[in-house]
Symmetry: C2
Subunit: 476 residues, 2 copies
Amino acid sequence: MIPDKAHISFLHSALQYDGDLMPNQEFHAWMKKCRDSVKVEVTAVTFPELNKWLFEPNTGNLVHESGRFFSIEGIRIKTNWGRVANWTQPIINQPEIGFLGIITKKFNGVLYFLMQAKIEPGNINYVQLSPTLQATKSNYSKVHKGNTPNYLEYFNGDKPRKVLMDQLQSEQGARFLRKRNRNIIVEVDDDIEVKDDFCWLTLGQIKTLMRFDNLINMDTRTVISGINFGSYPSSSIDVFHHFAYQNGSKASNGQAMLLSALDELHSHQSMENIISWITGLKSTYELEVDKIPLNQVAKWIVNDREIFHEQHKYFSVIAANVHISNREVSSWFQPLVRSAQEGLIAFIVKDINGVMHFLVQAKIEAGNFDILELAPTVQCLTGNYRSGLNEYEVPFIKEVLETSPEKILFRSMQSEEGGRFFREQNLNMIVEAPDSFPEEVPENFCWMTLNQLSTFIRYNNYLNIQARSLLAAVIF
Amino acid sequence: MIPDKAHISFLHSALQYDGDLMPNQEFHAWMKKCRDSVKVEVTAVTFPELNKWLFEPNTGNLVHESGRFFSIEGIRIKTNWGRVANWTQPIINQPEIGFLGIITKKFNGVLYFLMQAKIEPGNINYVQLSPTLQATKSNYSKVHKGNTPNYLEYFNGDKPRKVLMDQLQSEQGARFLRKRNRNIIVEVDDDIEVKDDFCWLTLGQIKTLMRFDNLINMDTRTVISGINFGSYPSSSIDVFHHFAYQNGSKASNGQAMLLSALDELHSHQSMENIISWITGLKSTYELEVDKIPLNQVAKWIVNDREIFHEQHKYFSVIAANVHISNREVSSWFQPLVRSAQEGLIAFIVKDINGVMHFLVQAKIEAGNFDILELAPTVQCLTGNYRSGLNEYEVPFIKEVLETSPEKILFRSMQSEEGGRFFREQNLNMIVEAPDSFPEEVPENFCWMTLNQLSTFIRYNNYLNIQARSLLAAVIF
């Protein structure tokens, strides 16, 4: 794609690993101050104590009395993919599309992103760096009678702004029934008030901060993963590489990674071939998902404190009372989803003819919008990969876990969304394959460049949130 | 998109308005011979006579005894789009993804398409020009115990071929629940037997033949609509224009149409803006569709001969006995869907700065995969547009129907799929707007170039079949 002004501004900001407005050496002290200034208490309660939430008499679904926010319902799945052809499970139904939005503004020619140190009850450390705005339709239409979310007026069109990116993107297909959010980045020219707990960072700073555990929240990761930088001739990419090096990039393979992101000519597979591969898999594999009442879900138990699988596998739903000093509503009750274990999310990458390629997996999950989505090489979110006791085998897990340290390009713990999930974190890794790693891969895997992945993200329903979230961490 | 060899072969074939292998002056005689050589009889029967089909006792759904092919079921729709917020209706459920495939081969450097004069029971004239292969999964997995479809081996990978295009594309969202087919074009190098009722045509010939009523079937139209020609600099497009003119193109506005198809730089709206427009609409409008048993659909009556709306609106389902002399199975029973009226499908186009732009409508239909799809400017498939007695108003219908003759670029009757629909035809038109037609359009309309529309087709779930089918008729 021929780059426009927005692509070039994004690329320029991505190559700035430090920023004038919130220098790296001040950031952590500022974050600590934000964390110290709030008090959060999350207490497990029983479902009868879960104020404003109830189990619907006929269906057993766990719903809010307003009918809004989200509900816990059941689904029945039929598929010819994998080893299990039929099952039922609880799922989060949240049909509302919310905003995940970032305001950007140019200072001295560099695009800065307005980020918020935001509290979410499910976060391990409560406060993480979130987009400027994070609001469900129930939030911004004030169903819960709190204040209007900060900066909403720059996203709903009430104040002038230029839209740089605006995409619908899916969330966890194993947990949510076809949930999507509006991932949006706008640019403003006006002076804009920086409210408490907000700060301006470059894209390069945000990406670098992903190297810290549980600091950049999931919503930030999905929004910045949608950024497209455009496509350029190789000679320009050489210049960008020098520029990145001058600016202090520590990416050991910056040139191959930059080519992967910015060159649309040199890829292992053409886009037509990749689309044909996806078409073939979607034609072969079937996924039929029907909503059922929660009280018809087999093998799951509902007691006073928890909705859980009889073998305590996968995840459970708990009831929580949340007290927060620094939020639009300071105390409320809500269900939270707790994962049975930590998971692993990893991309294997390989330099093929000087261009970094990502090993992408086509993966079926029950809540997917369109049968399968493109996932990281390894994604075992709910399985116990350490013991290997699973319904399914996980290809390439050994290769990832046994990567020698100098081949690990990225490794940190990242949290899932703290508004729905209770202290859920996954090990995120990007590892470089050894030279001996074959280019031939199993039927449901494919090598792609960042440029190709970015194009698929743009047209939505292609990359799952785990893949997008991990791609957000790539620095050049 | 940078053109590859396939793009250039497609473009070259599209600019050949006559062919050496089946010259235009011989085609109609050949087609008549094919039509005369078969005998087709379609007789209305009662549902109890509909052999192998039954109404399921619990649900009232009309199903095949094998559980395959398709079924008539019910759906419940909730939406905040349009004037009617809730309704139930029958729908065709055909979850299987079939092949709509065309074999191509180069003769003297020109790409030819292997087309079939094919009988379909619902066609007005029984025989229309179809893709090389048209097969549901039930067909090619031989559920009905007929012969293996002709040329299947070039599509399932048993014989060597190059895949030029391979996309999943939706079908009528008002009639089918999320039905899609695999639209695929392959190229072979080998000599290949041309069986009875098959012939080789250039892409330019096929497009020109769309000017005749009910000749090019719906499956052909959807497949060729997916062809992308790549993007080129203006200087190359000038050369193509001269070439088209030399070859006898009768397109009055060939240059503006070629620029619309082949230039990715000059458009009224950027792709980012269009994606943002779609994202905004999908975030605003909700479409909740749940399957229900057919016997729970309100206002529809099932009697011995028909499933119909109490006011005889929309469509009905009838039972048919089909006798055909020249097909893999020569006699069978099946339900057919009969439309209450003919419809109108039309694009208004406008030359904006020398590039032809199409006025595209974002339209919600109950069976859509993803809330809304991009539709022609006017699409009133089931409404009676002549009397204006509708649940909804149809914008721009007056402008289309009152277009002065010299501004009509395309006008013919085209059939819907004759395997499911009984003699359903729609008036298809492409009309050029007068200079006074405003560039400002209502919220759910947008001006796009062919190049942009072609990009959206590639990533599927964007353009509905009516839009794709009509775009197939564009010649340069």
